[in-house]
Amino acid sequence: MAISRARAKQLFSRSISSVASNPLHVCVVGSGPAGFYTAEKMLKKHQGAEVDIVDRLPTPYGLVRSGVAPDHPETKIVTNQFSRVAQNERCSFIGNVSLGSSVSLTELREMYHVVVLAYGAESDRALGIPGEDLAGIHSAREFVWWYNGHPDCRYWSPDLKSTDTAVILGQGNVALDVARILLRPAAELATTDIASHALAALEESSIRKVYLVGRRGPVQAACTAKELREVLGIKDLHINIQEADLVKTPADEEELKNNRIHRRVYELLSKAAMSGPSHCYTGQRELHFVFFRNPDRFLDSDDRSGHVAGVRFEKTILKESAGSGKQVAVGTGQFEDFESRLVLKSIGYKSVPVDGLPFDANKGIVPNIGGRVLINSSGDHSQIEGVYVCGWLKRGPTGIIATNLYCAEETIASISEDLETVLAYATSLPKPGREGLLRLLESRNVKVIPFNAWEKIDIEEKRLGSLKNKPRDKLTTWGELLKVAL
């Protein structure tokens, strides 16, 4: 339709009076923080909007439920706010509906005026080094889903008994979470909402030493102060950090000068390196921060072929990258082997592409500008009408829960602008919205889980938890979840 933005605005500008008869139907795919903040802001800004939040799980809240560690309950309080959004009369949570298998993006675009994809990043970056397929090497994401009771990892079974040493590649907050869950006495975890099957496995775990390995130095460590302070403060845990690793280059000093987060993290690491006891007693649990080591290959074991026995690291030094000015790790040709039968890669998540949605495989995101989905990532800025992204699918898998607040604001601003201009005509025409989706899903025999059905799961988990002195005891299989909900 060859019509200018200004003319479109003039002709089809929405007014409050026309809204009731022709609601704006919005579908948000993904019910984590990105999805819920988007829904909340949409409902607030557009009083005639009806918003559906779809999720492939029967349970909402995304990584707040399946990512935040069990011993961090305060970080989960935000679900109270999300719950209020779901209970808004113009909002519906629709669980157990998968984009791609239950319904296609094309179908959603036919039924809704606006579709916002906020389904995050459910896969992992790969190192691409030899031996990566050996048994005993896992992604941190799987480990976290496992201890948080994600139904896709219910029968995932890490071997915590055949070794006393775990190597974690990466030093971000997820890596610290994994280290902490492996090293905290199981008795302390017993009163959290950790999944029961994971607690049972951790009670029998023989892991006593954990190495957190980074390619660069303490100045570049990706974790943040709160998490670091917490892990350094664990009772009776021997912390090992080499003082030699703390030496700073002039470029390091420059980096620290401009970055409060890294400054405070460096100070904590520095203090821990100087103040810890130099010897640890037999059987004491140990946490080692290893810097300047880049994984070169995984080593196979002689006795159990196909199972990892260790990691070969190449020692690195920092060099300033010509383009960015940032310091990158460069190999020195010197190698060092670490023995371990349990390796957890915590090097970043990756989004999964979906049919009908352009994907930038390089960056692992959907190409977009301000949340408006582009036809491709080639540089041609043509948009796909009515389709938007928010959260990790838009920005890549970085940031905290609150980052999605600002991300959602930006996407909603783009949507709002488009509603007055390029979408003005299309949104003046009625669409079936929720009714259409539910009818379609019923014809496909998809059992949808509305919010009040999730609440049955919620109540049952809390009831089971009360029997074990836990805030909740999660239902962790698809069967149990659907049985209680439906």
Binding site: H72, I77, V78, T224, K226, R229, R264, I400, A402, Y406
Partner: protein, 97 residues
Amino acid sequence: MSMLEAAHEIDIDLEGACEGSLACSTCHVIVMDMEYYNKLEDPTDEENDMLDLAFGLTDTSRLGCQVIATPELDGLRLALPAATRNFAVDGYKPKPH
């Protein structure tokens, strides 16, 4: 009463994702007058850890849930980072941290 609670009492849009339990930075506020900033007790390590992650952090930033109303603070002026992003509050321009 904290500034976060006060804001909610009078329907000001100050986010409080963790409801005051020092597990987020969404109630970040900017104290507009240095004189008042200095009257406040220093932030604890825990508050500073959360401030590390606040968007638009300034020299006089605090978490709204940690600033408790006292008679001494009468006249305290707080800016919300959302407002300062547009520099729309009395022409006040916060110093970047």
